[in-house]
Symmetry: D3
Subunit: 319 residues, 6 copies
């Protein structure tokens, strides 16, 4: 049985739900308007043209809408294209939700929220614990769905939560090996470092930045919130300042977006843990479909390198 | 009449007030402790040794203390040095204050506060005006005394206010020539851009950074305060975000400390006005004592350049 | 009434004068030669193909020629294209000139020459005044028509004069605020700094560099001319050298084309005034057609930034 | 009881063994030769002058010699200096060895060799295991004593072994969290990556580079040895090439000394593990003697940053 | 008579041998597979489509195969394209070899080998001579055919030998002018510096890197071989190390691929000779077809510059 | 017999001529003025104090004066110092000239002028020849004495001429190997490239820059002169422009002082020849006194590298 849009070939008929990821209006040479739709499910994406549209169609078939479509897969300039026979927007009756049509993290959101909660529970410094818990509770719904970025790494539904959970586990191992590290700071820094992304990114479906994301960035957003949380919880003391510093400096350098470099031991290590987890995610995905003895596609944020999978690595290794 | 410590020569006796700028304890080869004091008034600075000190002396003669001293100017390794005969800390009875012993801005603090107030008064966007006035009122005492930096430019008492007033006047001229500029934004950006220095710097006398100055920096400090002010004044709208962006981006680039580059017309111009006023201050001081036909000392933050004063410039020009 | 080529739509007929901005010969698959013409007036540009050309056509319809054309606007691959019915080169009888077909500065050339003359008139140092006047007079016709660059900023007819006049006014304001600046040097530096562009650029119509523009550049060209002017006027003294230095250093750094960095106070300020005026021009044009709440196209020479126009800015602000 | 040279104060007499770290000959103003000796034990270092030396003294008291000294601690220009009464080189009878006079790793060399051996034992790819074991066995004596560098990090006796053991444990944790990593490659890469240092550095006592260290560097040295080992063991296959690549690329970039960047997943992670362990070592030592609420000295290889120890960290934390 | 594929025009018939440089399979919109072939001879290259292919065709018409073709030159989108009538692979009976179909060095390979041999013969230091001769003999067949690079300079058959011979002659001249240079080192360095390319590049026809080329690079490859050669020849002494250093450092800097910068006089000069010969080759080819008074195409590895050929240079000059 | 000041040791008496290279006035702790003189001859330099000076002494013993001195060599803080018994300025009667007291080029100035003249004589393009000859004749006296720089390379009397002659010979060899090079351009470019140094540097004795050297630099100076020469000689044509370009671009890049990069084949090669000759000079001098098996002092303009002299290089090699 065909389970996703990517399984269909030229000539096949379809009758399925798809999510509109983007919709752009254009005018044909005969002067009539049409929409170019990119539609997806978890398996991949396909392009379609919706011809002869009325103004209300334009308002209906917008990005982030789930539609029910029938039609046929055709070939156009070497690419698959969907010829639409019928298309309608869905309602609550259809019982479909965007997350079902997007790639998402391998762990369940509930499970991830629980793990983060457990790390907060283990903290011993009450000030650090209370601020972290306060901000985490405040944003946990968005946190559990948000991607970690619009591209490059963890750019899928619940990517942020997955990135944070992986970093926490890495931090736990490292803190065991280097006992001079303050676990409370490390855990709190990890939980808060990208939390501003829930306001920086437009949401789990549309890969865009909000205005405050563009003008302030997720770092300044959450530094503000830590300040506010401390006032609301009536917490004073250097912990507040240090937590703000951990977030502020986690990109490592001015040219990477941090107005201050890490000046606390845990801030430096937070930056490195962030790096390792982001790179492992990029490398694993780049190599996922690469056969032993071949090179991956170029990975732009890793200086555009193309990675090699040795011939003595067998395929199941990174299934 | 000799008006300052810099006018006294080797062999002269003194009987005057001086401000201790720094005091460092050391041990002589005979095992006894002594203090090396750097003392100043508006005219300049002199070094002195205070021998055979008791523990209470160490606690008394600390930096930022004004003392009354008598003694004689001697020569030591080619430099003037003060041989102390008597020294005592001052009290309120002496009616002296640190500002009298430090170089300061050429304008009166009150006058400068009034000018800034006038610029705020002229703003037409009520949201911008209210936030700016709120933060300015909150910090105006410190603002009227703070230097603009610990070194390089405007590093004197009331240097911050002087820098801001000069920038406001420059902004007024520029906005007249380029009518597309929003004066409210420009004035507000100028008034707020370095206001975080009142919390970043340790005060008008001691040239040091506070802990939050080091870990967060004046940019993040005031971005936080704008957020808080808006909440307190119950102001919503894009103005809040744009004001934060103006401050955030005023260093121009990530490597110069701004996590976002200027993305608003007025933000770019704010950055350039800041630059012009800072450079004029550095250049004027470097050239102040240079004779026509000679080069100045090197100016470190201007790529270590040494500036030339043409022979056809006569001395009164920059008296 | 339709006032320019940009007002015509698909299906319209035209009968008008246009300027050939570029003409490229190619061979069709049937082996016959044709010309691809880009033709413009002040309102915009359109492409046309001239089929079945004879060798003399190739020599006639070259760039910078004004032609009279009749034809019809058609659609080709989503773009407007002009189908030519008749085309002829113009003669003096047609009473048309290239400047009428190109975007140009908002001020009248005569008016701008007069303003520059006034600034020269106000100079007090006779040597500086005479050299500046001499070179200005020598090149004033070309100066009044030349663009300031082939792209990025002020790249329109009379753009150079407009750039210089704006800079002079900005300089006047700044010199009022910072009295240590020598106005004569500042004005002379501004008038001369880009004057070499009249030899560097191929002229107001064709956006190209001359050979000496490519091999020497406008800076070295005018530095040579200052030398020559001084000899011709029998002027000696440091003023000659300082004027050459002002021009030489106005790009600020070696990597930006200045073999010496600014070593004179006025040289540094000249560089900054140049920067402000160029950036205001780029930003104003980028934002001109942007609606409040939207971002502009990317501005390449401003680190490829895209600028935001706040929602509280209403459209008439930058008409 | 005083346990080391650092515990003695001005005026104290000493009668102890010390190691000569460096000896430089100079001529006094009376024309007579003397030696300036820097002598150390595990607690620290002191300077002494040896006056009136004969040629044979010069040959005797060379760097890396252990001597027995009596004398008195004096003060010279604010520093402690040792006035030598008697000095003699030691023999095997004295039962002292250089390692007793140098700071060294907190683990026993035997213990560290055993741990590395265990990691080799666990490898599953026989080719990787045999090459690694061969080279490790060949150099294990020097490996167990060598510092990891002449300065910056792990620059003490057995520093190399300590660095490798810490990295192996970190690698084990990381490989558990990211199962796509090939443990054999990671362990082999760690064991071999700095093994060339046994030929690059002059030995555990003198902090200098050998000629081949300077002209080739430890990376090329061990890449050569892997080649040779594979030939000797008659091992063919991509494993040999990949091991060479892991070593070659472990500095990450050309400007950091790696002629190829990491092109294998494990090569990238090897580079990051190396980084974390080196930085933890630098940070822990810089903060060791810093009180809560204070900043450390500047750490040159970490962009010259000075790290802060929060006030809520109590001293035992990194005892 | 037409001597090469580049001489044929649209409409001409051909009946000739060509070399397949690349073959890529694709599927037409009718679902049938076809091959896109790029075929060349010494004069240039042409594209062809081979329609309706069977699986065995795909295995036959692979890159580096010489084929005999008949067909007709047609026009497709402004480019020449070959319409194939018949195509067959060649056998030894055809007496054709790839080198006959590729651009190659202007000197005969035998002649070049002889010249290099002569330089080796002239060496006076026996150790340097024996190692150089050993490695040269070992690789001389591949050396005489290999290009010097896959692109940029000397990227033709026997390009490596031609580059080396030119450099040797340049070295001879320079060593005559600067007698402090050691000719043996210079000659040996030149002969060995790119010899690793015979293992780094896939061969004279296919412009690709081998796996060891990608993971180790030609520098490390030959450094290994020098080590091995010395062991095999039982040569010891600093000469071995210095030869390795010459090769290792010949790219000049870390970011250009040399893990050590030149630390020997001859190493620095080797780097500069390499540079001059590579640049002369790039410049001569870029200017070859440029008319006096025009600019060449941009030369990417020379900072993307476009070179000018002066009008007073007549064409035969660089014929 | 002792031939120079460097041969004298502590305790020796002297009676000789020396050149004052610098003279600085200071005040002793007893309030009396004295001069610190650095005096040299070809062998080296020595410091002396001239005590109890009268105002006329200060005016007499200035830099660039040759004096006759008697005195004794003493030791001061580990350095030799001259105790002056008598000192008098010389007159024409003494028949001494500064060049006798400064290190100078190994070739005779007359000989070098003749060689340059010969290269000019061989030029075939009359325009290039006439401009080159004109400027060379104009400056030949200064050219024959000037150093090529104030430091780094060829910083001795006649260093400029020596640098130019070496470059011409190198150019001749290179042009023989690469026949596409235009010898006239190459020779003219070499002769003119640094000719501006005769106006940039203060002269053969005092290592300082003139004002026009600092504000314009030798490149712009000679570019101006080429322009002027062409006008004076009534030469027109592209040769003038190309000669200016050769000089303008000979530093290779903007950040190295060339406002245009080399855009002509000969300009690129001129830059490389300049580089080779400067580096050979720096390397030869750095290695001159280095024993085989040792490293030289660091060479600042060669990225601060320290060069190694192999043990198999015997000393006479670069005597």
């Amino acid at each position: 049985m065909k389970t996703g849009i990517n399984q269909y070939k030229i000539g096949d008929s379809i009758d399925m739900y798809l999510l509109i990821k983007s919709a752009k209006k254009a005018t044909a040479s005969n002067g009539k308007a049409f929409l170019t739709l990119h539609m997806s499910d978890k398996s991949g994406e396909i392009e379609a043209k919706l011809w002869g549209i009325a103004p209300e169609d334009e308002a209906t078939f917008v990005s982030a809408t789930i539609v029910h479509v029938t039609g046929e897969i055709q070939e156009f300039r070497g690419m698959r294209q969907l010829k639409i026979k019928s298309i309608r927007p869905t309602t609550s009756m259809d019982q479909v939700k965007p997350a079902d049509f997007l790639p998402s993290a391998p762990l369940d959101p509930e499970e991830m929220l629980e793990r983060v909660t457990q790390y907060i529970f283990e903290m011993q410094n009450a000030k650090i614990q209370r601020i972290t818990r306060h901000l985490f509770k405040k944003h946990q719904v968005a946190f559990s769905q948000s991607p970690a970025a619009t591209k490059n790494h963890h750019e899928f539904v619940s990517g942020l939560a997955y990135h944070v959970v992986s970093m926490l586990e890495l931090a736990k191992s490292i803190a065991t090996l280097y006992p001079s590290l303050d676990r409370d700071l490390l855990y709190a820094g990890i939980i808060l470092h990208d939390l501003g992304k829930v306001r920086e990114l437009a949401g789990p479906i549309v890969s865009e930045y909000t205005l405050e994301g563009k003008l302030l960035g997720h770092i300044s957003i959450i530094v503000n919130e830590i300040d506010e949380a401390a006032k609301e919880l009536e917490i004073e003391g250097e912990e507040v300042l240090v937590l703000q510093h951990l977030v502020l400096s986690h990109h490592g350098k001015g040219e990477w977006g941090s107005p201050k470099p890490p000046l606390i031991r845990e801030a430096e290590i937070l930056h490195m843990i962030d790096n390792i987890d982001a790179k492992m995610n990029m490398m694993d995905r780049a190599l996922m479909n690469v056969k032993p003895g071949e090179f991956s596609e170029r990975i732009f944020p890793m200086e555009n390198r193309s990675l090699y999978k040795p011939t003595f690595h067998d395929e199941p290794l990174d299934l």
